[in-house]
Symmetry: C2
Subunit: 192 residues, 2 copies
């Protein structure tokens, strides 16, 4: 998506350690008009899928998912991160490793909000190794619902998440795939 | 706001210990079309304010804030909860006590995203004792920005937060104010 790539070139900051900071417009300050354009594009890409619910994960997926959901006319459910052990029987859960925070979270969704009738689009801001998306897929499968697709804002193309999910047969649409980036020059190359 | 009150009556669950569960449509599963109507109403209520930014707090404020922001054509910034001690000089921070989680969080916003030029509308899902909103006000004041108003979905009218903020002179608009609720009967009375 040209608009998103331009914005990443303009406002993204490449840092040592494979870090691409896009907190100017994507995951701390959020450009809602950009999100709205992303929503239109996801709707075009998943037009033939019978999506009735969007699932995302707190916190930075929520804003994108909610603005995108307007284009699908469906509710959003966000999975909650928790470190509490006493998870009762009323939730679906999975474990997700966070590289940013160097921790393993339990991620939970109430059983009330996913069922075998649901056809789910997963939305998240970033895809790298795929831990968060795999956790959401595990939750959807436990509920008996169907994964109709995965919509990502920014994929780090050299990490394993995208390839693994595509090899498994999921329709994964990343609006910008970063092929490589150079912290010395700030140069960012996109896959097309 | 009639539409929100009706929805709380229909889907809200009153529990012992002053708990009103609205996770069916507000803060776990999220009804985006309802949020859109809430956005229209906030725009009407704050029409005369020169708002150029919306500030909320993760996680459950983010969805409402992003859908509301479309009606103001402004970006959203969300304050992040952190328990890390090593907060560097690049953020504004305040301490917020969470009654739900019985913890004190550091709440932070990057200094890049609030400045004396900003005129800020605070948006959150719930107002009870006002701890979260007071933390956001403290952050806005530290940045030199102006608090133009506070927009809340559901206020617990018998708790101190609303009265304190109104007494301080803030324009606080809660779309539904619960005056009282009865866990035995499930009855909910709204203030008008």
């Amino acid at each position: 998506m040209e608009l998103l790539e331009e914005r990443i070139r303009k406002d993204g900051i490449v840092k040592e350690g494979n870090v691409l900071k896009v907190d100017n417009f994507l995951n701390h300050q959020m450009d809602i008009e950009l999100f709205d354009e992303m929503g239109k594009e996801f709707k075009r890409l998943f037009a033939d899928k019978p999506i009735n619910k969007i699932l995302t994960i707190e916190a930075s997926g929520i804003g994108i998912a909610c603005v995108v959901a307007r284009h699908f006319h469906v509710p959003v459910v966000f999975a909650k991160k928790t470190q509490s052990i006493n998870i009762d029987g009323e939730v679906y859960s999975s474990k997700v490793e966070s590289f940013t925070h160097k921790r393993v979270y339990d991620v939970i969704v109430s059983k009330k909000y996913l069922s075998p009738d649901d056809h789910v689009l997963i939305i998240d801001d970033f895809l790298a190794n795929g831990c968060a998306v795999n956790g959401l897929i595990e939750i959807i499968e436990k509920s008996g619902a169907t994964v109709e697709g995965i919509g990502i804002a920014v994929e780090k193309g050299w990490q394993i998440g995208g390839k693994t999910l595509r090899d498994q047969g999921y329709q994964l649409e990343s609006l910008a795939i970063v092929e490589s980036m150079d912290p010395a020059t700030g140069e960012i190359v996109f896959r097309h």
